[in-house]
C-alpha cells in the first residue's frame, strides 16, 4: 500500500535556512522523503548538503524553517535527540570503536542489562537480528571491529542504526572508500532495507551509482534546492546541468599570459599514498587546472610532487633537475612551492605571527652573523601585506586571529616570498569570501604573466574554467582526460570527474579517438 500517492512523507523539511556569518549555506530549502524511499541528495562541494544533513541530525539548529517526522514537529536538541527520533547518520569517517567487538559496537550506549550486569544472551540475540539484514562474510558478533575491512565496518555502522530502530538513514558518500564488490553488496542491502520501510537519504558524487540506487533526487546548488523529481526519466546530463547551473566565467579576471617551455615533467610518478602512477607536464607561464572529486587522488599527487610523501617510482624533473625522496627542502630549493588544502592543520602555524608564517620557508635573508633580525623580517613582510591587501593589525599579529581569506593570503604570500617558480596550489579558494577569491584569481594570472607555472587543484569548476589554460581530470586515482580549457564545459568536467569519462552525447568521437 505504500505506493499510494497520498501516503504522507516520513520526513518533511520546509523553508529551512542557515547562515554562517555572511555566507548563506542553506536558503529556504524544502525537502520530502517518502516511506521506504531512497532519495539522492546531489550537489557540488559546498552546495549545502552537509549543512542540511547536520540540521536533520540535530548537530546544528536552522535559522528558519520547520521539520516534521510522520507529521509531528521535529526539532532535535542535538544528535542524541535526533537518533532517538529515528534519524541515523552514516558518515564517511566511521565512528566505531576499533577495540570493541561488532556486537559491543552495535549496542554501544544501549547495552542490555539486568541490574547493571550485562545480559550477554539478550544482546547477542538482538545483534544477530540486525546482522541478518546486513550479511557479510567477515562480520560475526565477537570480532573486534578494528580487524574488519572498510566495507564491513560500514555495514556494522548500518547495523547499529538498524538496531536503534532508525527509520531514516543518511548515507554520506557510502561507496567512496569501498571496493566494487562491497559497493554491490551495499546496494543489495539498501534494496532490502527499502522492503523494511526504512527511508534512506543517499549522498554521493558518483552519479551513475546514484541513478542505479535512488528512487528520486534533489539537487542543491549554492544553498538552494534547484530541482527534484523521480530518478526515472532523468538523465545524467539533466543532473549535471542542475548541479553546475548557468553560472559562468565573467567573475574571473583574465590576465593575458604566454605559455613557454616545459618546467615540470612527471612520468609515471607514484607516491606512497597514490593508487596509480601519474604522468603530467607543466610549462612556464601555464595555469594547469586539476579537476576531480575530493579523494580522487589530486592531493596525494601534490604531496608526492613536493616530497611530503615518499616517491616510490617514476621520475620528477623540475627545471632540468631530477628530484626524488621525501625531502621538501630539496623541492623548495628547485623553486617548487606548495599551498596546502588544509590551511589551519598544515598550511599555517596559527600561533605564530604573520611575519613568521610568511618567511618561515626562507629565513636566510634576515640572518647576519648567525643572528636573525625580526625588525627586518617585519619590514620585508609589510610590502607583501600591502600588495596582497591582507587585513591584519600588523606583521606581528598572530595568524590565528585573521579571517579565513586573509589567512589564505598569508599562506600564498609565503610562496611569493620564497620566490617559488612552480606553484602547486591545492584548493586555494576553498572557504573564503568572493572578494578574496577574485583577488587570488588575479594574482594567479599575474604570476603566469611573470612566467611562473601554476598547478591549480580545485573542486569548484567555474574557477577552473575561468582561469586555467588547460585542465586535467582525476577519477579514482587516474588522470582520465586532459584538454585545453576551451575544449571543456562544466558538464563535461563534472561527467569526467563523476563517471570517469566525459558525457556521452557531446564527445563520442573524441573518446573513441583516444
Amino acid at each position: 500500500m505504500r505506493d499510494v500517492p497520498a501516503a504522507p512523507p516520513v520526513l518533511r523539511m520546509a523553508g529551512v535556512s542557515k547562515s554562517f556569518g555572511a555566507t548563506r549555506a542553506l536558503d529556504d530549502v524544502t525537502f520530502e522523503l517518502g516511506r521506504g524511499e531512497v532519495h539522492a541528495l546531489i550537489g557540488e562541494n559546498g552546495a549545502g548538503k552537509s549543512t542540511m544533513m547536520k540540521i536533520l541530525s540535530g548537530a546544528i539548529a536552522p535559522d528558519a524553517g520547520t521539520m516534521e517526522i510522520d507529521g509531528r514537529p521535529y526539532a532535535p536538541s542535538g544528535p542524541v535527540d535526533g537518533l532517538r527520533c529515528g534519524v541515523s547518520m552514516i558518515y564517511q569517517e566511521l565512528t566505531l570503536a576499533p577495540h570493541l567487538t561488532v556486537a559491543e559496537n552495535i549496542l554501544l550506549g544501549r547495552e542490555l542489562d539486568t541490574a547493571g550486569w550485562l545480559d550477554r544472551k539478550a544482546m547477542e540475540r538482538k545483534v544477530r537480528e540486525v546482522l541478518d539484514l546486513v550479511r557479510h562474510p567477515e562480520i560475526s558478533p565477537d570480532v573486534p571491529v578494528g580487524r574488519l575491512s572498510v566495507g564491513a565496518k560500514q555495514l556494522v555502522e548500518i547495523a547499529r542504526a538498524l538496531s536503534n530502530k532508525s527509520r531514516i538513514l543518511v548515507m554520506d558518500e557510502p561507496t567512496s572508500s569501498l571496493s566494487q564488490g562491497d559497493s554491490q553488496r551495499l546496494f543489495e542491502i539498501i534494496r532490502g532495507l527499502k522492503g523494511q520501510d526504512v527511508s534512506i537519504i543517499y549522498i554521493s558524487h558518483f552519479l551513475e551509482e546514484v541513478q542505479r540506487v535512488a528512487d528520486s533526487y534533489t539537487v542543491l546548488r549554492d544553498g538552494r534546492s534547484v530541482g527534484s523529481g523521480t530518478m526515472e526519466g532523468t538523465s545524467l546530463d539533466d543532473l549535471i546541468q542542475l548541479m553546475v547551473g548557468q553560472k559562468f566565467t565573467q567573475l574571473f579576471p583574465r590576465v593575458d599570459h604566454a605559455v613557454g617551455g616545459t618546467v615540470l615533467s612527471v612520468k609515471d610518478l607514484k607516491g606512497t599514498r597514490m593508487t596509480a602512477p601519474v604522468t603530467l607536464t607543466l610549462s612556464k607561464g601555464e595555469i594547469l587546472g586539476v579537476a576531480g572529486l575530493i579523494g580522487s587522488g589530486r592531493t596525494e599527487m601534490l604531496r608526492a610532487l613536493f616530497g611530503l610523501d615518499e616517491v616510490e617510482g617514476g621520475t620528477l624533473v623540475v627545471s632540468g633537475a631530477g628530484l626524488a625522496g621525501r625531502r621538501p627542502w630539496t623541492r623548495i630549493r628547485r623553486g617548487l612551492g606548495l599551498l596546502s588544502e588544509d590551511r589551519q592543520g598544515e598550511g599555517l602555524a596559527l600561533s605564530l605571527s604573520v611575519a613568521d608564517n610568511m618567511t618561515l620557508s626562507d629565513l636566510a635573508p634576515y640572518r647576519r652573523r648567525g643572528l636573525l633580525s625580526p625588525a627586518r623580517q617585519r619590514r620585508a613582510v609589510a610590502g607583501l601585506v600591502g600588495e596582497l591587501k591582507i587585513k591584519a593589525k600588523g606583521p606581528g599579529q598572530k595568524v590565528g586571529d585573521l579571517s579565513g581569506g586573509n589567512q589564505q593570503k598569508v599562506a600564498l604570500a609565503r610562496l611569493l616570498h620564497q620566490k617559488a617558480s612552480v606553484l602547486l596550489l591545492d584548493e586555494p579558494t576553498r572557504g573564503i569570501d568572493v572578494v578574496s577569491k577574485s583577488q587570488i584569481y588575479e594574482w594567479i594570472g599575474g604570476l603566469a604573466r611573470e612566467g611562473k607555472a601554476v598547478l591549480f587543484v580545485s573542486s569548484y569548476l567555474p574557477e577552473l574554467l575561468g582561469i586555467c589554460d588547460r585542465i586535467v581530470v582525476f577519477h579514482r586515482g587516474l588522470i582520465v582526460e586532459s584538454r585545453p580549457t576551451a575544449g571543456w564545459t562544466a558538464a563535461d568536467l563534472m561527467a569526467a570527474a563523476t563517471v570517469g569519462r566525459s558525457s556521452r552525447e557531446q564527445h563520442p568521437d573524441q573518446r573513441n579517438a583516444e
Binding site: 613536493f306 611530503l308 621538501p328 627542502w329 623541492r331 623548495i332 630549493r333 606548495l338 596546502s340 588544509d342 592543520g345 598544515e346 598550511g347 599555517l348 602555524a349 596559527l350 600561533s351 605564530l352 613568521d356 608564517n357 618561515l360 620557508s361 629565513l363 636566510a364 640572518r367 648567525g370 643572528l371 636573525l372 633580525s373 625580526p374 593589525k393 598572530k398 590565528g400 586571529d401 579571517s403 609565503r414
Partner: protein, 323 residues
C-alpha cells in the same frame, strides 16, 4: 572584528602573568610578621637562588623541548646519571675539568638518544622519555654499584658554594652559569633561524615540513641540547652533594616541567619563554623557602605547588580561549 579585545588581555597575561605570580609570592611572605625579618634578606634570596640552580638548568633545556612540542620525563634520571659519572671520574683521579665535561656529555648522549628514538621510531616523546627515565636511573645505580660514590673535594664543589671563593662574585658560580645560559638561550630562541624553527615545529609540525624545515633534525638537536643541560645540572648536583648519588632528584622532572608550564610554556607546543621559565623556577623556590620558614610541613608545600600548577594552566587555557 569582535576578537580584538581578547588577544590584548591574553598578551598581557602572557607576559606579566608569571611575574605577577612571583611578586605575589614574595609579597605574601614579606607581609607575614613571623618570617618577614628572615625572608626579606639578601642572604635568603641568595640561598633561594642557589637552591634553584639544579631545577633551573634542567628547565632551560626543557623549555626548548616543550616549545618544540615535546616532553622529557627522563630529565631527572639524566641529572642523577650525569652526577654519578662526574663523581666517578673525579674519584678515578680524572682532572676536575674532565669530570665536568664527562658529566655534561653523558647528559648530551642521553638527550640525543631521546631525540633519535622520537624521530627514527616515530614514537611519542612521552613514551620514549618515560622508558629513558628508567634506563638512565638504572644505569646510574649500576655504575655507582647501588651506593653513593665518594669523591675528593675539588674546585667543582665550589660551584654551588653559598659564599663563593673570590667574594666579588657575590653569588655562587652556578647561579652565574644559569644566568649566562638563560641569556644565551633567550637570544637563540628569539634571534636565530634555529630558534624560529623550534617554534615552528612546536606550533605546527606539518607547516614546518611544508616550509622545508628538517623537523627531525631540529628535534634531535633540541633533545640533545636539553640533555647537555641535564648533564650540567647533574654536575651541579654533584657539586652540591660532594658525592655521586644515583638516587638523587627522583621526581624532579615534574618540578622542571612545572616551572616551564608556570612560566607560560604550552604542552601543545609553540609557546614558552626562557624568562617565563626562570620566573616559574623562582616561584616554586620562594614558595618552598617561605613555607619552610613558616614551619609548615612538607605536605602543605606540595599542596600549594600543585594548586599553583593548576592555576597556571587554567590561565594558559584562558589565554587561548579566542580560538
Amino acid at each position: 572584528m569582535s576578537r580584538q579585545r581578547r588577544p590584548g588581555l591574553g598578551k598581557a597575561l602572557n607576559i606579566f602573568g608569571p611575574f605577577i605570580g612571583l611578586l605575589l609570592v614574595i609579597a605574601l611572605f614579606s607581609l607575614i610578621p613571623e618570617v618577614q625579618g628572615r625572608f626579606l634578606r639578601f642572604a635568603n634570596f641568595k640561598s633561594v637562588a642557589t637552591q634553584s640552580v639544579i631545577v633551573a638548568l634542567g628547565a632551560l633545556g626543557m623549555t626548548l623541548i616543550i616549545i618544540a612540542g615535546g616532553i622529557d620525563l627522563s630529565a631527572a634520571s639524566n641529572i642523577a646519571l650525569s652526577s654519578v659519572i662526574a663523581a666517578y671520574a673525579v674519584n678515578a683521579g680524572a682532572a676536575p675539568l674532565v669530570a665536568v665535561l664527562l658529566g655534561v656529555l653523558t647528559g648530551g648522549v642521553v638527550g640525543m638518544a631521546n631525540g633519535g628514538l622520537v624521530t627514527r621510531l616515530r614514537l611519542v616523546p612521552f613514551i620514549v622519555t618515560m622508558g629513558m627515565m628508567g634506563i638512565a636511573r638504572g644505569a646510574a645505580k649500576w655504575i655507582a654499584g647501588n651506593q653513593k660514590i665518594d669523591a675528593p673535594m675539588t674546585w667543582v664543589n665550589e660551584l654551588m658554594a653559598k659564599s663563593p671563593r673570590p667574594s666579588w662574585l657575590l653569588l655562587a658560580p652556578g647561579i652565574w652559569i644559569v644566568i649566562l645560559f638563560a641569556v644565551a638561550l633567550a637570544v637563540l630562541l628569539k634571534y636565530t633561524v634555529f630558534g624560529r624553527h623550534i617554534f615552528a615545529v612546536g606550533s605546527n609540525e606539518a607547516t614546518a615540513r611544508l616550509c622545508g624545515i628538517r623537523t627531525d633534525r631540529i628535534k634531535i638537536l633540541v633533545y640533545t641540547i636539553s640533555g647537555l643541560f641535564c648533564g650540567l645540572s647533574g654536575v651541579m648536583e654533584f657539586s652540591r652533594l660532594t658525592v655521586g648519588d644515583p638516587t638523587v632528584a627522583v621526581g624532579l622532572e615534574l618540578d622542571i616541567i612545572a616551572a616551564v608550564v608556570i612560566g607560560g610554556g604550552s604542552l601543545n607546543g609553540g609557546e614558552g619563554s626562557i624568562l617565563g621559565t626562570m620566573v616559574g623556577v623562582l616561584i616554586m623556590s620562594f614558595l618552598r623557602n617561605g613555607c619552610t620558614m613558616m614551619g609548615w610541613p612538607n605536605y602543605i608545600q606540595e599542596i600549594i605547588i600543585g594548586a599553583i600548577i593548576i592555576i597556571a594552566v587554567t590561565l594558559d587555557r584562558l589565554r587561548h580561549k579566542p580560538e
